[in-house]
């Protein structure tokens, strides 16, 4: 006799997830259409953290924009600083001395480590791997201490200046980095043993949030998400800037484009970043960190307080801002989450006429519905976690 299965009601349920959901670290809202637990459609609502970055920058001088850039992706504020400074320097036509370029590479990679450790650690702890999450947060804390020792701040660093850096590296920088990296490698080894072949972790991540190579390109994705789908596009290799072409590193690629590949890509990039920092520290040349151009560089304090010319020079740069020639340019660096581009338009004054940031995670959120369609509600958490959406950058 055939058992009678009652007809289950299949009604499409609309569910609003967010804007402040405990498992989505970031203010974002998903308007879901569900059939049972299956996600039929997902409409992503962003903008809860919109504070008018572009408009604020138009009111500030070129130098005053640097603290604003810290607040974009606050997990990798050093990369934002470097990207902005490089974009303005491109418009000026200035090239910083080699020591400055090496230091910029080092701090970019430290920021990338910070970003990837935050992303992987948080994603792991959201899936219940609290121990591994804490190990990564401990590793991140070591990076934060190096950054604090270097810049004086933990997150909003404002370390890079147009045409140079706030100051040179502290004398014990290399030792601190070496000892921190030894601990981080040990911690990451533990994390690798805890996570990479963990059955629960694998089941939650692999074959979830799959996005094919073609779709990823079609959605303008960049960074670890695009590379996890197998597209070899890293701004550091494709359009080398600073001294990346003189350093030896690999770009890890995935093949399936699922969350597990994204996780592995990020973990391997952490190794590569540490390798880059060590190489750059070994090759670090001596010399100045500022360009030799009084139009953009503040005079030394003895000159400011000791001579009228120095005082006037200081006053002009602070009050009117550095004068950037009229024109428009675009410069992209590889941020923690993808191509971080700055499109700037100058009308020849002391303030930017237009400043646009290409926010990698805003664009990634545009493809989120494609990643999650057909999966379960619970899969939203790891998929969203591996995008590493940072509200400050996504909503600007």
């Amino acid at each position: 006799m055939k058992a009678e299965i009652p007809e289950l009601p299949t009604e499409v349920m609309e569910l609003q997830m967010g804007p402040s959901h405990p498992a989505t670290h970031g203010t974002i809202k998903f308007n879901l259409k569900l059939e049972g637990e299956k996600v039929l459609d997902c409409d992503v609502e962003v903008g809860f953290l919109h504070r008018g970055f572009d408009k604020s920058c138009e009111q500030a001088t070129w130098t005053q924009v640097i603290p604003y850039t810290d607040r974009l992706n606050y997990a990798s504020s050093l990369i934002n600083n470097v990207g902005y400074a490089l974009a303005v320097e491109k418009l000026i036509g200035a090239e910083t001395p080699p020591r400055c370029q090496y230091i910029r590479v080092i701090i970019s990679e430290l920021a990338r480590l910070f970003d990837h450790l935050t992303c992987c650690g948080m994603a792991a702890s959201e899936l219940g791997a609290i121990t591994a999450g804490f190990y990564m947060i401990e590793a991140r804390e070591l990076i934060t201490r190096i950054i604090e020792n270097l810049t004086g701040a933990r997150l909003t660093v404002t370390y890079v200046r147009i045409g140079g850096l706030k100051h040179d590296l502290p004398h014990d920088f290399a030792e601190k980095v070496t000892s921190a990296f030894t601990t981080i490698r040990k911690l990451l080894g533990d994390c690798d043993r805890l996570l990479s072949r963990n059955r629960i972790f694998l089941d939650r991540l692999s074959n979830v949030g799959v996005i094919s190579r073609e779709t990823a390109l079609n959605y303008s994705l960049t960074g670890p998400i695009l590379r996890a789908s197998g597209v070899d596009y890293d701004v550091r290799k494709a359009f080398p800037y600073l001294v990346y072409d003189q350093l030896d590193f690999e770009v890890p690629l995935g093949s399936r484009g699922d969350n597990y590949d994204r996780f592995l890509c990020r973990m391997r990039e952490i190794d590569q970043s540490m390798k880059i920092v060590e190489q750059a520290l070994a090759q670090l040349p001596v010399g100045p960190v500022w360009i030799d151009d009084p139009r953009f560089v503040l005079p030394e304090k003895e000159k400011v307080y000791g001579s009228i010319e120095g005082l006037m020079h200081h006053f002009k740069i602070i009050m009117e801002g550095i004068q950037v020639p009229a024109g428009e340019t675009y410069f992209a660096v590889e941020g923690g989450n993808g191509e971080l581009g700055f499109y700037i338009v100058s009308d020849g004054g002391g303030k930017p006429y237009r400043l646009r940031v290409r926010p990698p995670c805003f664009i990634a959120m545009g493809a989120f519905h494609e990643m999650i369609k057909g999966y379960m509600v619970a899969d939203i958490i790891p998929t969203f976690g591996m995008i590493n959406m940072i509200g400050g950058e996504c909503d600007r």
Binding site: K55, S220, Y330, E339, Y353, R356, D395
Partner: protein
């Protein structure tokens, strides 16, 4: 650089009269495109010249500076030949609309919505042209140069959403609690 000029020559060959001007700005290839037939121009760039990654769409407001007031700026990348190209399209104020690129790149969806939100430039044939960073009741487009930076927006009443589930039990519980408290005192 000879390489850049050969690339520009290629683009000239494919797009022909659609190019109003092309230049080299700090080593970047910049092309001013005609607004008519924009999607067809981009289709050619994508299919025939392998510019497969649409990197960014944004706009600039040249209020009281240039005559077609707006400029929509596209950044595209060719992964195969490792080249970037920037395309600028002039858009007048009285007819602020350009072709949407969503049929070519679905990633254009969010980027175009953002330009519409902040500049008020429409994208024809866009599937879902809503505000994205700001809320629906916002007046004006804040990145336009004639939008004052300190302008306050009117307060918006709470939006009623149909079918929102409200758990009445917790409210009833609270009312009961209040009643018992007031009867005791």
């Amino acid at each position: 650089m000879p390489e850049t000029s050969s690339q520009l020559a290629n683009i000239h060959e494919k797009l022909g009269a659609k190019i109003l001007q092309s230049m080299d700005a700090q080593g970047d290839n910049v092309v001013m495109l005609d607004r008519s037939g924009l999607r067809e121009s981009f289709r050619r760039l994508k299919d025939e010249l392998s510019f497969d990654l649409l990197s960014d769409i944004t706009a600039v407001d040249y209020w009281q500076k240039q005559d077609p007031r707006f400029e929509v700026v596209y950044q595209i990348v060719s992964l195969k030949s490792r080249q970037r190209l920037r395309l600028r399209v002039a858009v007048p104020e009285n007819d602020a609309a350009v072709d949407s690129l969503t049929p070519l790149w679905r990633g254009a969806n969010f980027l175009e919505r953002e330009v519409w939100d902040l500049y008020g430039i429409r994208f024809t044939d866009h599937p879902d042209l809503r505000r994205i960073l700001l809320y629906d009741e916002f007046h004006g487009h804040p990145l336009r140069k004639d939008y004052p930076v300190n302008l306050c927006q009117p307060r918006v009443p709470e939006r009623h959403v149909d079918g929102t589930f409200v758990d009445e039990r917790s409210r009833n519980k609270l009312l009961r609690l209040q009643k018992t408290l007031s009867s005791k005192s």
